[in-house]
């Protein structure tokens, strides 16, 4: 039987207003890839400050992804 903490811990990525839940504990770079984005095409910010993608995601983190590629 599963214990009280069986619910996997989640981190939220926010991209153009859309919230995407990912599993905590991985690197931000892996999470960006798993969410279907290229790490080369986004920047990540936490609490308004840019962070590098080697950061290990913690439960409850909210990471804003900023798209950087324009096609004009």
């Amino acid at each position: 039987m599963l214990g009280m903490d069986a619910q996997p811990s989640k981190t939220t990525l926010i991209h153009r207003g859309k919230r995407i839940e990912v599993r905590s504990g991985s690197t931000l770079r892996d999470a960006i890839r798993k969410a279907g984005f290229s790490p080369e095409a986004v920047l990540a910010a936490k609490d308004g400050e840019l962070i590098t993608d080697d950061r290990i995601l913690l439960p409850g983190d909210e990471i804003q992804l900023v798209a950087v590629i324009s096609g004009g």
Binding site: I51, T52, V68
Partner: protein, 329 residues
């Protein structure tokens, strides 16, 4: 990851340079790199007056900010294309450029396409063969014409654009896929003014990744238009940028190497003389701007059948009382 310079938590990691920096050191690193490119490609000198083409996007505003911080005399030009698309795209981007210029005491010239020529870009595109499917080609033609005219008439030494490494690499890949010799020969960080009436064009960000210009803009807290141009969806530029980013993920530095190796190969004679296939230029009999087309230039022909206002060759930039762009020198 830590800043290589001071050991503080890094705000950005540039894998192609094996370099991580904190905010404070990054916002100085970008102007240093820009200055290096300006000097390396002999783009312009501090005594020369520049015109920066600004769109309200991250690259052009970052470039204007960097040139200003480096002490270059640079005015801005914003071309209001009259694009609304339900989101007030042009109005928003124009306001951001005006706000940027006003906060720094910089001169911004605004040229309104609907105001000066009587039709917005989407409207004129719909009525022309060139823009019937998508207005991007018409948009490029109109912008190039206006920027060249303002630059030439007002004696600017060069027109600086915010093209970054991703822009340059995407165009290069696109042209290499079709072996478009003429375009490949002409692609360079500096496009010389090869004849009177043609403005010198420079791209000081040509070695800086798009991700880096975006990071600079965010770190400098420059407000820019985040929305993509409504007509850019599905553009070939986006497609090639995505392809290049897939390569970059596996091989950091792939985009930079692709572009720099191309420039080097070109310098070493990759293309035979005359490979550009460039026809001789002459002055358009209507507006006086250089053109390779027989007779009138493509810009003047574009407006010929568009009601209600015909183009006026001598039409100056839009002047607004109290606007930061009212004075130009």
């Amino acid at each position: 990851m830590r800043c290589r310079t001071c050991g503080a938590p890094a705000a950005i990691n540039m894998r192609q340079h094996k370099l991580a920096l904190c905010r404070a050191h990054y916002v100085d690193w970008i102007p240093e790199q820009t200055e290096r490119a300006i000097e390396h490609y002999r783009m312009f000198t501090r005594g020369e007056k520049l015109l920066v083409a600004v769109s309200g996007g991250k690259d052009s505003l970052a470039l204007w900010d960097v040139l200003h911080r480096l002490g270059y005399g640079a005015d801005g030009i914003y071309i209001d294309l009259g694009i609304d698309a339900g989101i007030g795209y042009s109005a928003k981007s124009r306001a951001l450029c005006e706000q940027f210029a006003s906060a720094r005491g910089l001169q911004l010239q605004v040229v309104s396409v609907p105001g000066a020529y009587g039709s917005s870009i989407p409207d004129v595109a719909k009525q022309s063969v060139r823009g019937r499917r998508k207005p991007c080609s018409v948009c490029g033609l109109v912008k190039r014409h206006i920027m060249n005219r303002v630059c030439r008439e007002q004696g600017y030494a060069a027109l600086a654009t915010g093209h970054n490494l991703d822009d340059e690499a995407a165009v290069l890949l696109h042209n290499a896929m079709t072996w478009s010799g003429g375009y490949l020969v002409r692609q360079a960080p500096v496009l010389a003014a090869t004849r009177p009436g043609l403005a010198r064009k420079v791209k000081p960000f040509c070695r800086i990744y798009e991700r880096e210009t975006a990071a600079y803009t965010l770190m400098q807290k420059i407000e820019y238009i985040y929305d993509e141009c409504p007509y850019a969806t599905g553009s070939s530029t986006l497609y090639y940028k995505e392809l290049l980013n897939r390569m970059e993920e596996d091989r950091p530095g792939a985009k930079l190497q692709f572009y720099l190796a191309f420039l080097q190969a070109k310098d070493q004679g990759l293309f035979a003389p005359g490979a550009s296939g460039e026809s001789e230029l002459h002055d358009c009999p209507q507006c006086g701007q250089p053109t390779s087309a027989p007779g009138k230039c493509a810009f003047c022909r574009l407006w010929e059948n568009i009601p209600p206002v015909a183009p006026s060759p001598g039409l100056g930039p839009e002047k607004e009382p109290g606007d930061a762009g009212e004075e130009t020198s």
